[in-house]
Symmetry: C2
Subunit: 359 residues, 2 copies
């Protein structure tokens, strides 16, 4: 294994699409949706085995999740967990990680990975990651992973490939936001567009230079702390200064502006597992077509449901088809799979009526 390889796992996200399973206090990345016995975060770390040394994994999360991260990843040392005092999107957290890692190893090559995605084909994933790291050896590049689309998905961003480098790599022509159905269909037909997996690779100097060029107001803050990285003053400095970073995504701050951005076209069974429906699509189904991760279910004349409950709870369903049933100790959701985009509204409604109690 290359000791210069690092991986930054972004683990500070919140979201309500998996309510009531995901909560402000326990977001999606910490939950074992598929019933594998490992949370999405744990699976993300597991996938790096043999590619990135354990001591080179950096977890970026919000300080309110520190104890969850420590509990779920006992193999990660406390000093590998960087705690953001406030939410500031992905540009500031990647800047912090880069400056922090540079102090550890100025030759570092960094992979950035979300903590809440699903990857099915582990070997293909590992090949792709190694290929990206190797590409960085010979190129002052930012590498993205673009997933070959199999449907006109409107829930993902897309990367359009430009000039080919070789069989796997191309220059990036454009990044696009989530498209309409019509546009997504055009993207799929064209063959030029790939799902933006949110995974990036860069050399530590490449990203720091890019920050200095395209996001100087961020770079300035982290350049200020050069004496502190790796010392007890680092967290103190962050606690005092992190909030003054602009709230901006790495895509917008860097990726869309840099000239040396490449896409590696990959196909490793990726899903951002953004909704209960995608859990249904990706998880193993029972004989009756229900998905029941880690849950004791007796289903009678009931098919194509996602049924999730906790702690050995028994769920008996009868005559229920195509629903999401998600049960937690203090909240139960029953909603047709087709209406899952409304879950956010329901959560807002719950907030209106009951404040933060169920969030």
């Amino acid at each position: 294994m290359e000791n210069n390889r690092f991986c930054v796992i972004m683990c500070g996200g919140v979201g309500s699409r998996f309510w009531p399973y995901s909560r402000k206090a326990m977001p999606k990345q910490f939950i074992d949706f598929l019933g594998t016995g490992r949370s999405l975060l744990q699976l993300t770390v597991d996938r790096l085995e043999g590619i990135v040394p354990l001591q080179n994994i950096i977890i970026l999360t919000n300080e309110q999740y520190a104890s969850i991260v420590r509990d779920q990843l006992p193999e990660i040392k406390p000093e590998q967990i960087l705690l953001e005092p406030v939410l500031r999107n992905t540009a500031p957290c990647n800047a912090w990680a880069a400056w922090h890692i540079k102090a550890l190893n100025p030759k570092a090559k960094i992979m950035v990975a979300p903590s809440d995605h699903l990857i099915i084909k582990l070997n293909d994933f590992k090949d792709s990651v190694i290929r990206a790291f190797e590409f960085l050896e010979n190129n002052d590049a930012i590498v993205t992973l673009g997933v070959k689309p199999n449907r006109p998905e409107t829930g993902y961003g897309y990367i359009q490939e430009g000039k080919n480098v070789d069989e796997y790599f191309s220059m990036v022509k454009t990044f696009t936001e989530k498209p309409t159905k019509e546009v997504a269909n055009l993207f799929l037909e064209s063959g030029e567009f790939f799902w933006n997996s949110g995974m990036f690779f860069w050399g530590v100097d490449t990203i720091i230079n890019a920050m200095r060029t395209y996001a100087p107001e961020i770079a300035e803050i982290f350049d200020h702390a050069n004496l502190f990285y790796g010392s007890p003053q680092e967290q103190e400095f962050i606690d005092e200064n992190y909030a003054s970073c602009p709230n901006i995504s790495i895509d917008y701050a860097i990726m869309e502006k840099s000239q040396n951005v490449y896409v590696q076209k990959v196909d490793f069974g990726w899903s951002d597992l953004g909704t209960w429906g995608s859990v249904f699509d990706n998880a193993p189904k029972n004989r009756d077509g229900n998905v029941t991760p880690n849950t004791r279910v007796l289903a009678f004349e009931s098919n194509n449901n996602v049924i999730a409950a906790q702690n050995d709870k028994l769920v008996v369903v009868s005559g229920l088809n195509g629903y999401i049933v998600a049960d937690t100790p203090d909240a139960l959701l029953i909603v047709p799979k087709n209406d899952e985009q409304k879950i956010k509204n329901y959560v807002n409604e719950a907030k209106t009526h009951f404040g933060d109690k169920y969030l």
Copy 2:
């Protein structure tokens, strides 16, 4: 209030039609189905206010429910709670109650009431009870309450009236078991048949004599203990001998055989509340037609459901119509109201798979 008036509340029943709310350890009579803040048992006691002195109320229950009864009825003294060591149906428990009460007051007139029924029109109920007690003053009689039927219900037993005594009372011609739909229709059309409410009235000597005549094997046991009633030996005697009583209902042992059985025709909004559907029929409905006893529900495009959860749990339902949703900490049931008769089968299935864990 008449100090000779007693009420025996039968409170030992078990049943699975209200699973997962009702459990072996917490049967239906102890649950607040209607969200009134009082369990069915508590409502049964409340209804006697002003008719039967509190100290003349006798609760008959299984010893496993002793602490629930004490918790729910702190106004009832421990010596008013008779604890059956084993289940032996309604003839033995009514025999015990009769012999026990005779030792307290040989002139007692006894009302027997189930603990798990619903009565809506409280004043009409009280009038009927007083009328029955008064009837016993002048008649060596067993009085049943027959509820005027409003539909061809197949879930109830029926009482056929015979010769009229007066506006309210008739002799009983027959008791019948739960009829088929066709028979229930005939019953309704005839005007001669009334729902058997399971409430009975008798003088203490009347019932003891009837026992000696029609159920001598039971009478013999309780006659044996005449020196013990009211003493510490009473429970000891019961613990040793109760199991040798035949497992037989009061209807079969006494009512169907006695010659002096009367029916008072009543109409006080009675339901035996035997199913979730009857809870739906009897409980107040929200604007959207859902019944949500004691439960925080946000319902979107969802109507005509019974939704019950506990402890401030929030239930969010969407696109659900005509279902029973019954949630407890360790079990959740979702079943169409029309299939509620299958709940027993589901509970048996749960037993097959998981033993007693969820019963």
